[in-house]
C-alpha cells in the first residue's frame, strides 16, 4: 500500500460509505466524500511537489496478476504524465465537492450525488494512473457510467433521461472501437501495458497497417469521449445534469480523458494517424466555436466552447506539441471549471439557462461576476494576464510551425506537394479563426448575462449572491485561471510533459513562428472581444445583422440548429429501432410460424395415419377377428350337442377312413 493506492482508492471508499450509509449519518454526509477527495488532493499535490524536487521520474507504482494466467501484470503508476494530472483532478474535484455542498442543498438524493461524483473522481484518478490499456478502459467506462448517472440525475425530467442515454450510447460507439484497438494491439504484442506496446511499436514488432488501424481506433475512442466531430452531439445535451457535474465531468476532467489517452498513446502513433488527430482536433475547434456563436443556452455555450477547446488540445498533441496540449488541458480544467461553477451559481439564482431571460446580474452577484470575468478572459486568451492565453498560444504556435516545416512531411508525391503545403496551413488558420470566435462568443455570453437591462424583471429581482461555500471555490479557481497558474506550473509542465517533443523543431524557426502566432492570436482575440462589446454592450452594431440577408440567415440557422447533426443522429436511432421491430416481427411471424407450422402437417399426418389405422390396419385386424368368428360360428354349428349328430359324423369318418385305406 503506498500513497498512490491511497490517492486512487480513498475517493472510492468514501463513495461506497456514502452510498450505503449516507442516509444514516445525515450530518456527516457533507464531509465523507469531500474528506476522501481532500486526502487524495493533499497526497497528490505532495507527490507533485516531491516529484519536482526529484526532477522528473517519480517511481510510485503497484501491479498484480489480474487475469491470473499468463505473465501479464497490470497495475497503476504515477509517471510524468500522471503526476500533474492527479494533482489537477483531485484538486478541481475537491472544490467542486465544496461548491456542491451549497448547490445541491436540500435535494432528496443529496448523499447519492456526492457518492457519484466521488466515485467518478476515483475512476478518473485510476485512469490517469493506470499503466495499461485495460485498466484505462475500465476506468474510462466507469466514468461513462458516472456521467450517465449524473446527467440523468434529475431523472424525473424526460430530457435528462434522454440526454443521459444519448451520452452513453454516443460515447459507447467510440468506446467499442477503442476496445477493438486494444484488441488489435494485444493481438500484435501480447501485452496491454503502454510501456511494452510502445517499445514493441518503436522496435518495429507491429506491422505498420495494424498500428495505423489500432491508432485510428484509439482516436475513435477519444472522439467519443472528448466529444469531437462527428460524435460531439452528446455534450451540449449533457448540460441537463447539475452544474457542478458539468464543471467536473463535462469540462475539467472526463472529457479531457480522451485527450489524455492520445497523450498516453502518442508515442506509438504512426504519422498518418497523427494527421488524423490534427485534422479532427483543428476542425472541431473551429466547428464547435461556430455553434457557440448564436446559442442562447448559458450552459450549452460553455459546452460548445469545451468541445472547441478540447479540439485545441487534440490538435496540439497531434502537432507534436504534447506539452502544449497538456498545458492547455490543465489550464482549461481550472478556468472552465470556474466558468461552469459560476454558471451554476447564476442558475441557482435565476432558475433558467436561457440568456434571454438574464441580464444585469452584475450588480446582484458581484463575486460571481468578477470571478467569471477572470475565467472568461482566460478562455478568450486575453494576453499576458491569464493562463488560457499562454497555453492556447503554444498550440497555435505549434500549428504555424507545422505549416512552416511542412516540407519535412513531404511524403506525398511532388504533384500534390503544393496542395499539401496549402493543407498544412489549414490547422493554423482554423485554430486562429476559432480563437477569434472564442473571444467573441465568450464575451457575448458574459454581456448578455451580467450587463444591460434585466430582460426578466421577476427573475432579476429574486436573484441573490451565493453563500460562501459556493463563492470560495470560485475565488480559488479564479486565482488558478490567471497567469499565476502559468508562472507556477510552466516549469513543471515542461519538466514532466516536455521530454522529446521539441527535438524536431528548429529552435530559431520555432521562436519566430511563436512570436508571429502570438501576435496573430492577440489581434484576433482582442478583435473578438471588441466586436462582442460593440454589438452587445455598446450596441453600435445591431445584433441581428446576420439575419438581414438570406446567406446570413442560412449561416445563423446552420449554427443554431447545430448543422442538423442531431436530426441525423435521431434518424439513425429511429432507423435502428425500426429495424429491431422488423426483426422482432420476423421472429414471431417468420421463424415461429415455421416452427408452429410444423405442427399442422404433423397433426394431419397423424390424422391420416389414424385413418389408416382405423380403416386399413384395423380393417385387417377386424377381418382376422371376423374370419375367426365366422369360422367359430361354423364350428359352433357343428357342435350341436346331440349324440346322433356326433355318431353320424363318426360314421362318415370311419367310412372315409376305410375308403382311403382300402384304396
Amino acid at each position: 500500500m503506498n500513497s498512490l493506492a491511497l490517492i486512487i482508492f480513498a475517493p472510492l471508499m468514501m463513495s461506497l460509505v456514502q452510498l450505503f450509509f449516507g442516509k444514516r449519518f445525515r450530518h456527516l454526509e457533507k464531509f465523507t466524500t469531500a474528506g476522501g477527495v481532500g486526502l487524495a488532493a493533499l497526497l497528490s499535490i505532495r507527490n507533485l511537489a516531491s516529484a519536482l524536487h526529484g526532477h522528473g521520474a517519480f517511481p510510485l507504482a503497484f501491479s498484480f496478476s489480474w487475469f491470473g494466467f499468463g505473465g501479464l501484470r497490470l497495475g497503476f503508476h504515477a509517471d510524468n504524465l500522471a503526476v500533474p494530472m492527479l494533482a489537477m483532478v483531485s484538486f478541481v474535484s475537491l472544490f467542486v465537492h465544496i461548491f456542491s455542498v451549497g448547490y445541491m442543498h436540500g435535494h432528496p438524493r443529496y448523499s447519492r450525488f456526492f457518492s457519484y461524483i466521488s466515485f467518478f473522481t476515483f475512476a478518473m484518478l485510476g485512469l490517469v494512473a493506470s499503466d495499461n490499456l485495460l485498466f484505462f478502459f475500465i476506468c474510462w467506462e466507469l466514468m461513462g457510467l458516472c456521467s450517465y448517472l449524473l446527467i440523468g440525475f434529475y431523472f424525473e425530467e424526460r430530457t435528462a433521461c434522454l440526454a443521459a442515454i444519448k451520452a452513453f450510447l454516443t460515447t459507447r460507439v467510440g468506446d467499442v472501437l477503442f476496445f477493438i484497438g486494444i484488441a488489435a494491439l494485444y493481438g500484435a504484442t501480447g501485452s496491454l501495458r503502454f510501456e511494452e506496446i510502445a517499445r514493441a511499436a518503436t522496435g518495429g514488432l507491429i506491422g505498420q497497417k495494424a498500428l495505423l488501424f489500432a491508432s485510428l481506433c484509439i482516436l475513435a475512442g477519444t472522439i467519443g469521449k472528448s466529444a469531437q466531430f462527428p460524435l460531439h452531439g452528446w455534450l451540449p445535451d449533457a448540460m441537463e445534469g447539475p452544474s457542478p457535474v458539468s464543471a467536473l465531468i463535462h469540462a475539467a476532467t472526463m472529457v479531457a480523458a480522451g485527450i489524455f489517452l492520445i497523450a498516453r498513446t502518442a508515442p506509438f502513433f504512426p504519422s498518418a494517424a497523427m494527421y488524423a488527430v490534427i485534422g479532427v482536433g483543428s476542425f472541431t475547434a473551429f466547428f464547435a466555436a461556430t455553434m457557440a456563436l448564436v446559442n442562447r443556452d448559458f450552459k450549452k455555450i460553455l459546452a460548445f466552447s469545451t468541445i472547441s477547446q478540447l479540439g485545441y488540445m487534440l490538435a496540439g498533441i497531434g502537432l507534436g506539441a504534447t506539452a502544449a496540449g497538456l498545458h492547455h488541458l490543465l489550464s482549461h480544467a481550472f478556468f472552465k471549471a470556474l466558468l461552469f461553477l459560476g454558471s451554476g451559481a447564476v442558475l441557482h439564482a435565476v432558475h433558467t439557462r436561457n440568456v434571454d431571460e438574464m441580464g444585469g446580474l452584475a450588480e446582484k452577484m458581484p463575486w460571481t461576476c468578477a470571478t467569471m470575468y477572470i475565467g472568461a478572459f482566460s478562455l478568450a486568451g486575453f494576453p499576458f494576464l491569464f493562463s488560457g492565453f499562454y497555453s492556447k498560444d503554444e498550440i497555435i504556435g505549434a500549428a504555424l510551425l507545422f505549416a512552416a516545416v511542412s516540407h519535412r512531411h513531404a511524403y506525398l508525391s511532388p504533384g500534390i506537394l503544393v496542395a499539401g503545403k496549402i493543407l498544412s496551413f489549414l490547422p493554423f488558420l482554423l485554430l486562429l479563426a476559432a480563437a477569434g470566435l472564442t473571444a467573441f462568443y465568450t464575451f457575448r455570453m458574459m454581456i448578455l448575462v451580467f450587463h444591460g437591462e434585466p430582460r426578466d424583471r421577476h427573475r432579476w429581482e429574486h436573484a441573490h449572491e451565493q453563500p460562501p461555500t459556493m463563492i470560495v471555490p470560485l475565488v480559488v479557481l479564479a486565482f488558478f485561471s490567471t497567469a499565476a497558474f502559468t508562472f507556477a506550473f510552466r516549469e513543471p509542465i515542461e519538466t514532466f510533459f516536455g521530454s522529446g517533443t521539441k527535438e524536431s523543431a528548429v529552435a530559431a524557426g520555432a521562436e519566430v513562428a511563436h512570436h508571429f502566432a502570438m501576435i496573430a492570436s492577440v489581434i484576433v482575440g482582442l478583435g473578438g472581444i471588441a466586436l462582442a462589446y460593440a454589438i452587445y454592450f455598446f450596441r453600435k452594431i445591431p445584433a441581428d445583422f446576420l439575419m438581414r440577408n438570406p446567406q446570413g440567415r442560412f449561416l445563423y440557422d446552420l449554427f443554431f440548429r447545430l448543422y442538423w447533426t442531431d436530426e441525423i443522429y435521431a434518424g439513425i436511432a429511429r432507423g435502428a429501432v425500426a429495424l429491431a421491430r422488423r426483426f422482432g416481427l420476423f421472429d414471431r411471424r417468420g421463424i415461429d410460424r415455421i416452427v408452429d407450422g410444423t405442427a399442422p402437417p404433423l397433426v394431419s399426418t397423424s390424422r391420416f395415419s389414424g385413418f389408416i389405422d382405423l380403416y386399413v390396419v384395423d380393417f385387417f385386424v377386424n377381418l382376422t377377428g371376423d374370419v375367426t368368428r365366422a369360422l367359430g360360428r361354423l364350428a359352433r354349428a357343428l357342435q350341436t350337442g346331440r349324440i346322433q349328430d356326433y355318431a353320424l359324423g363318426a360314421m362318415i369318418a370311419v367310412i372315409l377312413l376305410a375308403l382311403w385305406i382300402g384304396l
Partner: protein, 510 residues
C-alpha cells in the same frame, strides 16, 4: 466421500421426502434439501484442485455391466463451475419460489428432481448416463412450465399461447435434438464398445473427417437447440415468458449452458478434426445470435421477453469465443483467451441473467404485468430494487467493473487475436455491443426513470427475502468484475488442455 453422487442423491432424496411431507412443509423440506446440497459443494470447493487440468474426483458405479454401462462421474475446471452454478441457483430459486401456492408438493418435488438431473448432466462422463440425465431433465421442466406457468390463452393474432403451449414446444424441440444425439451415441458405442467418454475419444479421434463431421453435426444439433442457436431459438422466449420466475432462472441460468457445455465436453473431445473444420461456422452463428438476439430484444415490450432475447444474444459470445482457438492460417498455434472468455461468459450469463429474471419476477409480483410501457418512475418507488436493477442491467450490457465485461472482453481479445475472418466477426459483434447498450438503457429509462406512475405508487420495495436471493449474485457479479483471477485460474488449465488436445489431434495428418 463420493461428493459427486451426494450432489445428485441429496436432491433426489429430497424430492421423495417432499412428496411424503405435508403440504405446508413442502417448501421447507425443499429449502433444507437444497441447503444441505450446498454442503458437498462446499467440500468440493476444498477438495477440487484447480491446477489439475484433468478430470478429478472420479467415481465409478456399476449399473448395467453386461453392456458396459456405468455411472461414471468426474469434474474438471469446466464442469466444476457449472456444478457450483447449479447448486447455487437451485438454492436461491427455492427461496424465490417461496410463495408458490398451487400444488406446492408437486412443484418442489419436481424442482429437486430437476436439480438432481442438472448436476447429473454436468458430472457424467459416461455418455449413457449423460443421455439419461439429459432426458430426465426434460420431464420436470415440462411439468413446471406446463402446470405452474401462465394459463393457456389465445394471442390477439389468434394463436395459442401459455404454459402448456410453451412446455410442449420446449419438450418437442429438445427431444428432436436429443434423439439425434442418441443416434450418434449408439453409433459410437457400436464402434467402440464403450460409453466411457475417455475411451470413446481414443476411437473417435482416429475417424475420418467425413464420419467425424456427421457425428459432430448430430451432437451439435442437439446442443444448438439448447443454447439456443439461431434459428432453433424460438422455444426460448415462449418458455421464459410463460414459466414461473424460478423456472426461468434455472432455464436461463443453467439449462442454456448445457448446450455450450455439451459442445465443449463431447464435440471438442470426441471430434477434434470436425471441430476445427467447423469452427468458423459456429463462430458465424455466434455472431448471428449476438446481433439477432440484440435486435429482437430491442423490439420487445414485455420485460421478460426482452431478457429472454438478451440471453440469445449473450450466448452468442460463448459460441464466438469458444470457436476462436487456432490462429488463422496456422495449424498448431493456439489461442486461449477466446474460449476462456466464452466459458467465463457461461458462468457470468448464468449469474447475471438469474438476477435479471429474479428482478422481473419481483416487479411482476407487484404489478401483475411486465409491460414496459405501463411502467415508469420505479427508481422513486422502489430505490433498493432499482439499485439491484442497475447492477444487473449494467453487468448485462457489459460495463467494465462488472462480470459481463470480463467475459466479453476476453472473447473479443481472443477472437481478434485469432485473425483472418474472425476480425470481421469482432467488428460485427461490436455493433451488437452498441445495440445491447441501447436496449438496456432504453428499458431502464422507460421503466425506472421518469415520473412516478400513479398506479405503481405504494409498491413495497424489495423484501428481505428477495434481497437475500439477489445479494449473492450481485456479489459474484461485482467480484468477477473487479478481480477475475480466481475464476480464470479454475478454468485456465482445463481449457488449455482441451484446446491443446483439439489442436494436436485435430490437425490434418500430413
Amino acid at each position: 466421500m463420493n461428493l459427486l453422487s451426494l450432489l445428485i442423491l441429496i436432491p433426489l432424496l429430497g424430492a421423495a421426502v417432499v412428496l411424503a411431507a405435508p403440504k405446508n412443509a413442502a417448501r421447507l423440506v425443499a429449502l433444507i434439501t437444497s441447503g444441505v446440497a450446498l454442503l458437498p459443494l462446499a467440500a468440493l470447493l476444498r477438495t477440487f484442485d484447480p491446477s489439475n487440468p484433468d478430470l478429478q474426483l472420479i467415481e465409478v458405479h456399476r449399473w448395467i455391466p453386461q453392456m458396459h454401462i456405468q455411472f461414471l462421474f468426474a469434474v474438471d475446471g469446466l464442469s466444476f463451475l457449472m456444478v457450483v452454478l447449479t447448486g447455487l441457483l437451485s438454492f436461491l430459486c427455492v427461496i424465490a419460489s417461496w410463495n408458490i401456492s398451487k400444488r406446492p408438493k408437486g412443484y418442489f418435488s419436481l424442482f429437486l428432481l430437476l436439480q438432481a438431473s442438472m448436476v447429473g448432466v454436468f458430472v457424467a462422463v459416461d455418455l449413457f448416463a449423460f443421455y439419461v440425465f439429459w432426458e430426465l431433465m426434460l420431464l420436470p421442466m415440462y411439468f413446471l412450465i406446463g402446470i405452474w406457468g401462465a394459463p393457456a390463452r389465445q394471442d390477439p393474432d389468434g394463436r395459442t399461447r401459455g404454459g402448456p403451449y410453451a412446455a410442449i414446444k420446449f419438450f418437442l424441440y429438445t427431444l428432436v435434438g436429443s434423439l439425434l444425439m442418441l443416434v450418434a451415441i449408439l453409433w459410437i458405442w457400436n464402434a467402440s464398445g464403450s460409453f466411457d467418454l475417455r475411451q470413446q475419444a481414443l476411437l473417435c479421434r482416429t475417424l475420418g473427417l467425413k464420419t467425424q463431421l456427421i457425428l459432430w453435426t448430430l451432437f451439435f444439433l442437439a446442443f444448438a437447440v439448447k443454447i439456443p442457436m439461431f434459428p432453433f431459438h424460438t422455444w426460448l422466449p415462449d418458455a421464459h415468458v410463460e414459466a414461473p420466475t424460478a423456472v426461468s432462472v434455472i432455464l436461463a441460468g443453467v439449462l442454456l449452458k448445457m448446450g455450450t457445455y455439451g459442445i465443449l465436453r463431447i464435440n471438442y473431445t470426441l471430434f477434434p478434426r470436425a471441430t476445427l473444420a467447423t469452427a468458423e461456422v459456429v463462430a458465424a452463428f455466434g455472431v448471428i445470435n449476438i446481433l439477432y438476439g440484440a435486435l429482437c430484444a430491442m423490439a420487445q415490450n414485455d420485460m421478460k421477453r426482452l431478457v429472454a432475447y438478451s440471453s440469445i444474444s449473450h450466448m452468442g459470445y460463448v459460441m464466438l469465443g469458444m470457436s476462436a482457438i487456432v490462429l488463422w492460417g496456422s495449424s498448431d498455434r493456439t489461442v486461449i483467451e477466446g474460449i476462456l472468455g466464452g466459458v467465463l461468459q457461461m458462468w457470468n450469463h448464468g449469474t447475471i441473467t438469474a438476477m435479471l429474471f429474479l428482478l422481473v419476477g419481483v416487479i411482476y409480483d407487484r404489478a401483475h404485468h411486465r409491460d414496459i410501457d405501463r411502467m415508469g418512475g420505479l427508481a422513486v418507488t422502489m430505490p433498493i430494487y432499482t439499485g439491484f436493477v442497475t447492477v444487473a442491467f449494467f453487468a448485462s450490457l457489459g460495463l467494465p467493473g462488472l462480470s459481463g465485461f470480463i467475459g466479453e472482453a476476453l472473447v473479443l481479445l481472443g477472437t481478434w487475436k485469432t485473425g483472418g475472418l474472425y476480425r470481421f466477426f469482432v467488428l460485427a459483434a461490436a455493433v451488437g455491443i452498441v445495440i445491447t447498450a441501447a436496449y438496456h438503457l432504453w428499458l431502464i429509462q422507460r421503466a425506472f426513470l421518469g415520473k412516478e406512475r400513479e398506479e405503481m405508487k405504494g409498491f413495497p420495495d424489495a423484501s428481505p427475502r428477495e434481497i437475500f436471493t439477489l445479494v449473492p449474485l450481485a456479489a459474484i457479479v461485482i467480484w468477477i468484475g473487479i478481480y477475475p483471477a480466481p475464476f480464470l485460474r479454475i478454468l485456465y488449465p482445463t481449457l488449455e488442455k482441451i484446446v491443446n488436445s483439439v489442436v494436436l489431434s485435430g490437425a490434418p495428418t500430413p
